[in-house]
Symmetry: C2
Subunit: 392 residues, 2 copies
Amino acid sequence: MEANLDLGPSVGQVEKRYFTFGDEGGGLKLDCGRELAPVTLAYETCGELSADRSNAILVCHALTGDSHAAGYYHPDDPKPGWWDRMVGPGKPVDTNKYFVICSNVIGGCMGSTGPMSENPATGKPYGAAFPVVTIGDMVRCQRRLVDHLGIDTLLAVVGGSVGGMQVLEWAVRYPGRVRAAIPLATTTKHSAQAIAFNEVARQAIMADPKWNHGDYYDAGRPEHGLAVARMVGHITYLSDESMRQKFDRRLQDRCELSFDFEADFQVESYLRYQGNKFVDRFDANSFLYLTKAADYFNLENRHGDGSLVAAFSRSKSRYLVVSFTSDWLYPTYQSRTMVKAMKKNGLDVSFCEIEAPWGHDAFLLPNERLEALLRGFLDRAHADLTGGGHAF
Amino acid sequence: MEANLDLGPSVGQVEKRYFTFGDEGGGLKLDCGRELAPVTLAYETCGELSADRSNAILVCHALTGDSHAAGYYHPDDPKPGWWDRMVGPGKPVDTNKYFVICSNVIGGCMGSTGPMSENPATGKPYGAAFPVVTIGDMVRCQRRLVDHLGIDTLLAVVGGSVGGMQVLEWAVRYPGRVRAAIPLATTTKHSAQAIAFNEVARQAIMADPKWNHGDYYDAGRPEHGLAVARMVGHITYLSDESMRQKFDRRLQDRCELSFDFEADFQVESYLRYQGNKFVDRFDANSFLYLTKAADYFNLENRHGDGSLVAAFSRSKSRYLVVSFTSDWLYPTYQSRTMVKAMKKNGLDVSFCEIEAPWGHDAFLLPNERLEALLRGFLDRAHADLTGGGHAF
């Protein structure tokens, strides 16, 4: 599963930058009706923007991701960015050719404005006073960043899961500014089951007395609740099959059942470990806001008055849609639905369901098929633009 | 979905009885090595035991069920027992013909000995001092009850989910005492995914400070944690398809998104309601013990030295195995595995995968196919015994 075929060298050292707007008024009018100001986006870039500014690719991260898609902050960093396998010199998202941008979403906790940020009205962290933001709000912030970087049209927007929602939102909201859109392992709207899982995770956080209605930054954080929330999420990122292959009923550090409530099984200690590790890097309020944004996402309602076909009628992008056989969070039928609606609009769509047992997480794992698809699709989009390639 | 076709009158008034053993030593030696004494089982019966004591059917309840399978405690009870549709005069488990027994499992909180019961060593509730019990322990208690009722051989043992595990345990552990075994929507061992869901539910309870390491009976109960645990479980009892049909993305009591963390969607308020309702009727410690028993269940390890075929070589029962297409907690492939192992032993097995969108809960919902299967299978088993019917 973790066969890490070398896809070439890393992009090397990268730097987290910050773009702020609205600090003197002119913040972001949100879908909820409130205005957010100031707004800061943490972002990173790699590769070089071409003279005609036509080679920019925006990478959108998933629920709990960040701007650190590729490379290392320091030469001695133990781990590169979360998509280092895919983004770098000679890699599918080839930084020898493309200028790659990745920013942390608003509502997050990795440098962009979110519930942990200072509320200018109080001088304290927003907490639950932070406005509920949407995928549309996130994308409108990203557009400001792209404007700021002097880029009119993105060669591509690519992302998986909640990142894929941002891709779809970009392509429909800003039809003239996205040549190629690559939504991976995603959906045009959250199913009742996906909402249910998010709601249970939120309830786990809010049930923790330390959550304190979102006001905990001066006191202890709701670590127990957040760990449980992450455990719920983790189950949905894997699959029955991948859990059997990875853990089955193997015991953890013992030969016999313990007959107590310690972690008997490897799958239990794996989940506990994932929960505890997450608490160190993520903010509980951000988790609430980001899951809510995902639940609210509904492309057809927002842009098509209830019709997905109408929503995509706005789009002019070419698409590469990818789903994974064992992804039961956003199953293939949901990708097929969006592909149908795209095709009804005569859009140029490539669709591939990749056979993979690893569940929803498959889009983040080494996968030669995905890598080849991404590389080919981007190369063709780029070649068509520069006149060097065949038309689709 | 809830089309409640009338299957005939209720069995009428029933009474919860108690059977206690081990109050003067001779308790139950548990799989964990400890001894439990005294042991009380709450149980109910309906129908009449025949003179030759050959018409007894043991019904085994699922995770959070109880002994109240059918009928009413009082004439003005608003709701009958949990399987009243299936058990009663003229119903598939026909109390005009059969003597039906249902007991609450040990570890439970509905009258049988469990963590809420008085620990004779301290005079206080056991709490976390209650021993971890297994499906095998539960079944050995049930056997004592069946002995007490003077029944040598059960005509049938029937149950779904964790009740189905008890059915399998009965048929393999006491091969001479079960003529017909009917495991519904169940498995011979918990998958890693099923363990994972239970572990998250347990962690939700144990994360609640009011759980207090199981010692909460004098103080407030861990209601928040237990509610979250139940919500996790509920998602696994339904299915993607049933949640879409039942809720889709419909909003609760509003026309617009709220842009706060109240329940926007019907599926959210449904889950919150289920969580809160559960807290009123169930004990958090029992939830820990019963999920652990389910996770520990492993028929092939316990009775076949790792081979399911070897485990079933002990059995002499005839079987009706039923799975449901949309049950992703105990998917059909798990039933097929047990059916194969039964058949390799030359056992008489009927297997049916019932087409149903309602997920794991399907075995509890009105289903004509299930009712017909159960009725026919029991009638044939009974007829074969009394010499009035054709052989299988």
